[in-house]
């Protein structure tokens, strides 16, 4: 399935947060959205998943759903959003409970996603027993359980330390290599963007508009840490964003 933003604009009160965004998320690719804080990237993601409605413009989905898809647009949140009173299995089961699935189907799905995220040994653990990286792997397993058409990832690695982040990026790449999924990946971390993105969309701030779309052709599996081509991309992205990031940093919060 393909997602399309068609002339999307939005304002919160007097502040125009997004202006005339036209963007297509092609099937089977990871699109990273980067931009300085306050450029409306999280708002954009909420529009894409139907958690919020833009003032003007349209959010369109096109094409067939993948077979077995239970929840076409599925989020992975920055702070994991796991129910602390449910075990790993219980958290995954939660999103399968409202569907017409037999007990054996549910169990098969849970076993499958736990195996894919290498969490099988931790199935009965409570979130409080898990490290941050493990929690996010549970959240990714939960998202995979509903076979989404598009994964909407809102800074999924920002709450983790840099070593865990590297490990999870490798995990995401492995998952994508095995079964390419469509994803929109919002981040402020340019290293993540150049590692994971087939396409990197740079937003300007206030109002958020598309500054530039960078395509990276290197296959995900070949993107290694310290690859000079990737570093060049990252440096260029930083050049584009630098001034606006500085302006965003110097701004007084008016919330």
């Amino acid at each position: 399935m393909e997602l399309r933003l068609d002339a999307v604009s939005h304002r919160y009160g007097d502040v125009e947060v997004l202006s005339d965004i036209n963007l297509t998320i092609p099937e089977g690719r990871i699109v990273c959205i980067v931009g300085p804080s306050g450029c409306g990237k999280s708002t954009l993601l909420r529009f894409l998943g139907g958690l919020e409605v833009p003032d003007s413009g349209a959010v369109l989905q096109q094409g067939p759903l993948p077979p077995g898809c239970l929840n076409p647009l599925t989020y992975v949140f920055q702070d994991f959003a796991l129910l602390p009173w449910r075990s790993v299995t219980g958290n995954i089961q939660l999103v399968l409970e409202d569907r017409d699935l037999s007990r054996s189907e549910t169990r098969a799905i849970i076993d499958d996603v736990l195996a894919r995220t290498r969490l099988t040994d931790f199935r009965d653990a409570l979130p409080k027993q898990l490290s941050g990286g493990m929690k996010q792997r549970v959240a990714i397993a939960r998202a995979l359980a509903v076979t989404p058409a598009v994964m909407l990832m809102d800074e999924p690695l920002s709450a983790l330390d840099s070593q865990t982040r590297e490990l999870l990026m490798d995990d995401l790449i492995t998952l994508w290599e095995r079964a390419p999924f469509t994803a929109v990946y919002v981040t402020h971390n340019l290293a993540e963007a150049v590692r994971l993105g087939h396409q990197i969309v740079v937003l300007s701030r206030r109002p958020g508009a598309i500054r530039e779309i960078v395509e990276i052709d290197t296959p995900l599996a070949d993107r290694l840490m310290g690859d000079p081509a990737l570093e060049a991309h990252q440096a260029r992205l930083w050049q584009i964003m630098r001034d606006e990031a500085a302006a965003a940093d110097a701004e007084l919060a008016d919330v």
Partner: protein, 274 residues
Amino acid sequence: MSEQATRSVDHSQSPRPVPYRGGGFRPVHIRGVGIATFVILIAVIEWGTRAGWISNLTLPRPSDVLGTFGDLWQTGLLWAHLLPSLSRLIIGAAMGVSAGIAVGVLIGLFSVIRAGLVPLVAALFPIPKIALLPLFVIWFGIDEGSKYALIALGTFTPTVVSTYGAVDNVDRTLIRMGQSFSLSWWSIVRKIVLPGALPGILSGLRVSIAIGIILLVAAEMLGAQYGIGAYILEAGSLYDLERLFAGVVILSALGVLTSAGIAWIERRLLNWRV
């Protein structure tokens, strides 16, 4: 002077441990201190009343209170007073608490109900419920009905307030997560909102039930033949300090027991808390 100077020179040259400045400001569980406090307090009173520096009119001798307690037990009067009190407390508090949780959850979930009921609850909360007892006697009869109503109303208002506060405090990102996975409204309430509000509801229960015990005694003082309140009132009007204190000890024990009961439920149901 010169000695001090050499010492400071010493300090700057030889390695010395960095002084420890952390620690403290963190409650730790210490066993037995709570019981020791009771034991020491009672022992001091016992000693004082025996030695004579606490007069018999000021405080009863703890061993005499224990004796009175033994009499109560042997004559069967303990149960004659305790059972009606317990049934009043349990029935009244069960009504008040369950209605309070229901209304509190509704206030937490529906803005219209919140707008309508929060001012009403705020108006009801500060009324001393004992002042309404004569009214309740007319409405619900002089017997058990008015006592149930008093305890129910007394436990209702604090339960409502703590429940809707607890519902308000449920992590919104969890609710957003539920919506993003297209869970039904009812599923979100049942599986996310209610379990998330449980810690707040349970800690509110501690307060509600303590208020229930206070109102129980007040109601029984105003019109009951049997019950801890009636027993205390009778002892008080005869200035029988031993019996008065025996009654008070029973009430304290009741408070400690309910608090321990809720702590037990918390340990069972809230083991997921960090």
